[in-house]
């Protein structure tokens, strides 16, 4: 299978005052692949995400998204247009659902732009034209298919804020998917999930990659998720890119081990950890 580049990041740099949060990073995320960005806390992962999705304006760097909707230079676009036109959807580290609206409404709002066009920017919808009613039915069908997939159909009329934590995480992913994106960016989707929910998440993400056939970019600390489903891993440390490759390659990269375990000699690693590493053949 040939790999099609979906997102090409070139020389991305982001400063906050004197702090260089992201320093000259270049990488490529491919279509129909799961690309993971990992790194210790404060490595600049979320900053990369915020630059991609237009929440920050990076002073240096080119962000080229070449998806089914055409080619877009994200660094030149307003925040909301990146989702609207280029087709890049994201979730947040701290869940950002619309808590006092229902589960179903959350999924319908994600289809806002499609429905706005169908409602003739409100004018036609106000008088209940058929075109709008058809579009609304389609939107409901898409929402229902996601509710069925997540097993939340019975809770469709609940306020989203009342759902259990794990369901909120999955609903946020489904909401992002309802925008029909070409690239789905997930910021720590497994944070706070128990092992069973984390396994369900892995299944959901591979399904999004294989059946919806889009690219997924995720930040994650849960190594079972990262190593289990990623096709491609990018490692950041102190704002720099220190490794880029397949899970197996990254796992055995000495720079990565140093970043996670410290600069000391390997024999100064606590004995039990060193033994584990040796058993896994990493050192």
């Amino acid at each position: 299978m040939t790999r099609t580049p979906l997102l090409q990041v070139e020389h991305l740099t982001m400063r906050f005052g004197g702090l260089i949060a992201v320093n000259d990073i270049s990488f490529t995320a491919y279509d129909r692949e799961i690309t993971a960005i990992i790194g210790p806390n404060g490595a600049g992962k979320t900053t990369v995400f915020n630059c991609l999705t237009g929440f920050y304006n990076a002073p240096v760097g080119r962000l080229r998204l070449t998806g089914a909707r055409g080619e877009f230079l994200l660094e030149r676009m307003d925040g909301f247009r990146i989702a609207q036109k280029a087709g890049l959807a994201r979730t947040f580290q701290n869940i950002r659902l619309f808590p006092r609206m229902t589960v179903l409404e959350n999924l319908i709002i994600a289809q806002h732009n499609t429905l706005m066009r169908a409602s003739g920017y409100t004018a036609l919808g106000l008088f209940g034209f058929k075109a709008y009613r058809d579009a609304e039915r389609e939107a409901l069908d898409l929402a229902r298919s996601w509710l069925d997939r997540l097993g939340l159909t019975a809770q469709a009329d609940w306020e989203a804020g009342n759902l259990p934590y794990g369901s909120q995480r999955r609903l946020e992913i489904a909401r992002a998917m309802c925008t029909r994106p070409v690239l789905l960016c997930l910021d720590e989707p497994a944070a706070g999930l128990n092992p069973r929910e984390s396994a369900e998440l892995r299944e959901l993400l591979t399904e999004i990659r294989d059946q919806h056939r889009i690219g997924v970019l995720l930040i994650e600390h849960d190594m079972s998720v990262v190593m289990g489903i990623s096709d491609h891993i990018i490692v950041l440390d102190y704002g720099r890119l220190i490794a880029d490759g397949t899970p197996a390659a990254v796992r055995s990269d000495p720079a990565v081990i140093r970043a996670y375990l410290g600069e000391e000699e390997t024999d100064q690693i606590p004995p039990e950890i060193a033994r584990d590493l040796r058993q896994e053949g990493r050192v």
Partner: protein, 471 residues
């Protein structure tokens, strides 16, 4: 039971009451007969009564903590409240205060005696929320029907009809502001500015260009919406407190411009002789001008000044109902849902590709448009407008109607408007203490119903055949 502590507590409350009452109640300045000066009259008797009332009331409230005292206190306070309501005393203010205080204590005691805490769930409010949905669904049409036949009820006097028009004007303004505050979550303290824009648009266009009310009405709405967009642009990035302050300033700017731009708006003298509306071109006039048929001539009935009042009543009723049905409808459209989503989380909205600029501006524009319609109505009803009618207190009252009614609740706005506009009219005999009762009612509502009288949100969309999806 520690009687000493109870008395000490009540004594302290009485002392505070004394310190407050002595300067405020104890001394009154009155005109010397002939109006040549002022003299001080002391009212120490009233001070003593107030202090005694506070002492007894505080003691009663403390004793409510002891179950054995609850029933006697309930009986005594209820008897006192009812008794003083019936008996005429020469001191109306003191009597009213006593009635109010003993009624509060009686309610509190009844609450504890009959253990009513389960009836009103302070945080959830689910049961009342369901009640609100029920009231909205079944009583909404009944309310509308009542409003339609109201002018023809035998008990309806000219005064009540005027009051009805006033209440309906505020209901319409409340429904309009509900779009901005309740749905889009943009705290607007300068809503009255758009009301003013609508009123002046109508007055000036009708005066200078001679257009009829019906031609001016959409124009007034359009101008107000235009001003809504003008206000909207600079405040796009602001939220919460900052937005409230800027909108407050905007409201004042409009009022002050109207006050000072004499050649345009007539300054503090306002505009008088604003044309009255006509019924399909037929004026309400005993002697219509040449070439026109008056309303009473056409229907071949005797002229009565009340015809115009009834017509105005129906006019504002229709305008209000249009506002309501428009809001209910647009809530179910993508733009309405986007407003609510924007209220919930603006960052998430942007991540979903919703244009926050356009969404906010449409909310401001549509809210302002309805204020403009209401303003045009106000101008034609009064026949005279001046900047005085559009002071900040009007904005505050409209906002209070929306907040007390329950943000986003249509029927709540009606109840709150009746409560806030109608009830003070009935308490006119309290004179200057009227606003005190008003304040007390608002504090009470905020304590017992922090999310508004009828805070209930009906989902804007449901699954079409969701048999199992309802909770």
């Amino acid at each position: 039971m520690d009687l000493r502590a109870l008395f000490k507590d009540a004594g302290l409350a009485a002392f505070v009451a004394f310190m407050l009452a002595l300067p405020m109640v104890g001394f009154q300045t009155v005109d010397v007969s002939g109006g040549v000066g002022l003299t001080v009259v002391t009212r120490f008797g009233d001070v003593a009564i107030s202090v005694a009332l506070v002492f007894v009331g505080r003691l009663a409230l403390s004793l409510l903590h002891h179950p054995s005292w609850r029933l006697p206190i309930l009986l005594v306070s209820a008897a006192l409240a009812l008794g003083l309501l019936v008996v005429k005393t020469p001191y109306p203010v003191i009597t009213w205060l006593t009635v109010l205080a003993s009624a509060v204590i009686a309610v509190r005691a009844a609450w504890l005696v009959f253990d009513l805490s389960g009836v009103i769930d302070r945080d959830e409010g689910n049961r009342l929320g369901d009640a609100a949905a029920f009231i909205g669904r079944w009583f909404g049409p009944v309310f509308v029907l009542f409003a339609v036949i109201f002018p023809f009820l035998p008990t309806t006097s000219r005064y009540l009809l005027d009051l009805g028009i006033l209440v309906l004007t505020y209901v319409m303004l409340g429904w309009g502001l509900n779009v901005v505050v309740g749905l889009a979550g943009l705290l607007d303290l300068g809503y009255v500015a758009f009301y003013a824009v609508g009123a002046y648009s109508y007055a000036i266009i009708a005066r200078d260009f001679g257009l009829s009310f019906w031609a001016c009405l959409p124009l007034a709405g359009l101008f107000a919406a235009f001003f809504g967009v003008i206000l909207g642009f600079p405040v796009l990035r602001l939220r919460g407190d900052y937005l409230a302050i800027v909108t407050l300033g905007f409201g004042e700017i409009i009022r002050i411009v109207l006050l000072n731009w004499g050649s345009f708006s007539g300054g503090p003298n306002g505009i008088s002789g604003v044309p009255r509306p006509s019924f399909l071109g037929m004026p309400f006039h005993p002697n219509p001008p040449e070439g026109t048929t008056s309303f009473h001539q056409f229907f071949n009935i005797d002229f009565s000044a009340e015809h115009r009042i009834v017509f105005l009543y129906y006019l504002i009723l229709i305008l209000a109902l249009i506002t309501n049905s428009f809001t209910l409808r647009i809530r179910k459209l993508p733009i309405g849902r986007a407003w609510e989503a924007l209220r919930e989380d603006e960052i998430a909205c942007r991540a979903l590709g919703i244009n926050p600029t356009n969404t906010k501006l449409t909310a401001f524009a549509i809210g302002a448009m309805f204020a403009g319609f209401a303003g045009a109505f106000f101008a034609t009803r009064q026949g005279f407008i001046s900047p005085e009618s559009f002071s900040f207190i009007e904005s505050a009252v409209i906002l209070a109607i929306v907040v007390l009614g329950g943000m986003g609740s249509q029927i709540g706005v009606v109840l709150a408007a009746v409560l806030l506009i109608g009830i003070p009219e009935f308490f006119r005999e309290l004179a200057q203490f009227r606003m005190l009762a008003f304040g007390a009612a608002m504090v009470g509502i905020m304590i017992w119903r922090p999310r508004g009288l009828l805070a209930h949100r009906e989902p804007s969309v449901r699954l079409p055949d969701a048999a199992g999806a309802r909770r």
